[in-house]
């Protein structure tokens, strides 16, 4: 079942087009990776899907409903957004941060209840961060923070998860851990996932489909091994690669010195 549908979406800052005629869709339990060089419009597209930016043309439907005709709290009950790891101005505890995921279900003058705590505990446990619940969020590692932000998005009980470069600033092991976690959560909870990534190998390992982007357009869309090919990569990144097989998994290997 389709949970995200983007149709003919174009977005511009002033005169310059940043996204041109983008169409894609994501089903329940499916992980779609946006792949492409810096400045190709991945983050802009994620923000359009999350209705933070209003496109010039085209539409975004979440679970069949127009994303731009919903109140923010309605949309937040359908879409969980995981920003890049950040450091907030106040040292809230991990639990305080995850609890914020419940705000869309609460009235303006309401305080979180036991039920909201339970949902947040559950989300923390799901990403394996429950042991850090009372630690200041500002004092845990980058990888742990990213997982906490994923937990917060899950506490929203959404149908769609958007992640903006969840591997940025993480070490080798944490990158793989977070991607594995996202994929598992997507399957377990039946969430549609859209995430932007930099490494084509990560896309090959952890996605169900890939949208390859360059200069604001989707140049290739489909199953990872169909999209991540030497020709497509050259087209977007301008570099020679070879896709090799290793124990039934495909890997991208750069061929020339940059």
């Amino acid at each position: 079942m389709e949970v995200v549908r983007v149709d003919g979406l174009s977005f511009s800052y002033g005169l310059e087009f940043r996204l041109k005629d983008i169409s894609l869709s994501v089903d329940r339990g499916e992980v779609l990776v946006l792949l492409g060089p810096n400045g190709c419009g991945k983050t802009t597209l994620l923000k359009c899907i999350n209705a933070l930016l209003r496109p010039e043309r085209g539409s975004v439907h979440i679970d069949g409903r127009d994303a731009f005709r919903m109140e923010r709290n309605e949309l937040a009950r359908l879409v969980g957004y995981v920003p890049q790891v950040h450091s907030p101005p106040f040292p809230y505890t991990v639990m305080d941060i995850v609890l914020m995921g419940r705000v869309s279900c609460l009235g303006i003058f309401q305080q979180p209840s036991g039920r909201d705590y339970a949902k947040s505990e559950e989300a923390l446990a799901l990403v394996g961060m429950d042991r850090l619940r009372d630690r200041p969020y500002t004092q845990i590692s980058g990888g742990e923070r990213q997982l906490v932000l994923v937990a917060r998005a899950i506490a929203q009980e959404p149908k769609v998860l958007l992640l903006d470069e969840p591997t940025a600033h993480l070490d080798f092991k944490n990158q793989l851990m977070i991607l594995r976690m996202v994929r598992r959560v997507a399957k377990d909870k039946g969430l549609g996932v859209v995430m932007s990534l930099h490494d084509p190998n990560h896309a090959l390992l952890f996605s169900d489909s890939v949208a390859l982007m360059g200069h604001g357009v989707v140049t290739a869309l489909g199953r990872p091994e169909e999209v991540v090919t030497a020709a497509n990569i050259k087209n977007v990144y301008g570099m020679e690669i070879e896709v090799v097989d290793h124990k039934k998994t495909k890997f991208v290997v750069p061929l020339q010195d940059l």
Binding site: R72, L75, P89, P91, Y92, M100, S104, I108
Partner: protein
């Protein structure tokens, strides 16, 4: 929350009661403590009974000292709660209720009243409040662009509005004769000397309502402090919620400033003390505790103001003299402050 935090919180929440009662013993009129105690006990036991001691005792305690202490309490709540809320909204622990231009506006309003309309009773308060609020509105609408009011724009607009209102204030000072100029200068220093039940009645309703609004939004302040985009993603109508908070804080600050003049540093220092003592920035704890500790802070500062010397010291100067070095001490001790 650990049980240690709960105990500390309970203690801090109760602190205004001894501060209020104890302050009744302090003042210029020489009233022996044991008499004061008797008068208070008798009043508590039967509030409307005829008292056996001279009328002046009751007048000093219940018409002069008590309203003043209560006004200090209200003001402490108003300044520290608005400071704590704005620190959340602006994501900056170094912000207080004056960032939106409220003090500059109120100062100008009061100066106009004192310099040009001295014969009309109550006009100082009315103009100080109106100009304080006006300054906020100008700041807000200058910062607003295409239906959005980003934090950065608000800060910049606040600085601009403060500069303009301060310049106008200087102009008025320049053209004011010496005697009235002294009145303007004294007002700007902040004082609770004029406090009576009338001032309590003037400020309590607005500050009370605004405080309740903030009190019930205290958890939401946590979410607002994560920044516009993140708060939106989490499902917050950021423009609406922020406007409500800004409105409530301005209402609190300008109501109090209108009767007491400009009293600085309370809104900045008190929330910090709370975050350090309790060890959490969670506004569900910080807001109520800022209210009680802010009240205590201003009550005690005012006790000093009216007892250290034979004449009244401006309490606004005292809060700065106590607050600024204390703040410096906190910064040095924590090596950059609690927010790191």
């Amino acid at each position: 929350m650990g049980s240690g935090v709960k105990w500390k919180s309970a203690l801090l929440l109760l602190l205004p009661i001894p501060a209020l009662l104890g302050s009744l013993f302090i003042g210029a009129y020489p009233l022996p403590p044991e008499i004061t105690l008797q008068v208070i006990m008798a009043k508590i036991a039967s509030p409307f009974a005829q008292s056996p001691w001279p009328q002046v005792y009751e007048t000093v305690l219940f018409e002069i000292r008590l309203p003043r202490i209560i006004l200090a309490l209200i003001g402490g709540v108003a300044l520290s709660v608005s400071g704590a809320s704005l620190q959340g909204v602006f994501r900056n622990p170094l912000v207080d209720s004056y960032i939106l231009g409220v003090s500059a506006g109120a100062g100008l309003g009061a100066a106009i009243a004192i310099a040009f309309l001295p014969s009309i009773p109550g006009v100082t308060q009315v103009l100080a409040f109106s100009f304080g609020f006006l300054a906020f509105l100008v700041t807000y609408f200058v910062a607003r662009e295409r239906g959005e009011t980003p934090v950065v724009s608000l800060v910049l607009a606040g600085i601009i509005v403060t500069a303009l209102f301060s310049a106008a204030l200087s102009m008025i000072k320049f053209f004011t004769e010496a005697e009235r100029l002294a009145g303007v200068v004294y007002w700007l220093m902040g004082s609770l000397a004029i406090a009576g039940w009338r001032e309590v009645a003037q400020t309590l309703p607005a500050i009370g309502v605004a405080f309740l609004i903030i009190f019930f939004m205290r958890w939401r302040l946590n979410v607002l402090s994560m920044g516009d985009e993140e708060a939106k993603s989490l499902g917050v109508n950021i423009e609406r919620d922020r406007l409500i908070v800004l409105f409530a804080t301005t209402l609190m600050a300008s109501s109090f400033v209108s009767v007491a003049g400009i009293i600085g540093w309370v809104g900045l220092v008190v929330p910090h003390i709370i975050r350090m003592l309790i060890g959490t920035p969670d506004n569900r704890v910080v807001i109520p505790l800022s209210a009680s500790v802010g009240a205590v802070f201003l009550i005690l500062a005012d006790d000093l103001a009216r007892s250290v010397t034979t004449f009244e010291l401006p309490v606004g100067v005292l809060t700065t003299v106590i607050g600024a070095p204390f703040f410096l001490y906190l910064l040095k001790r924590r090596g950059g402050g609690t927010w790191k």
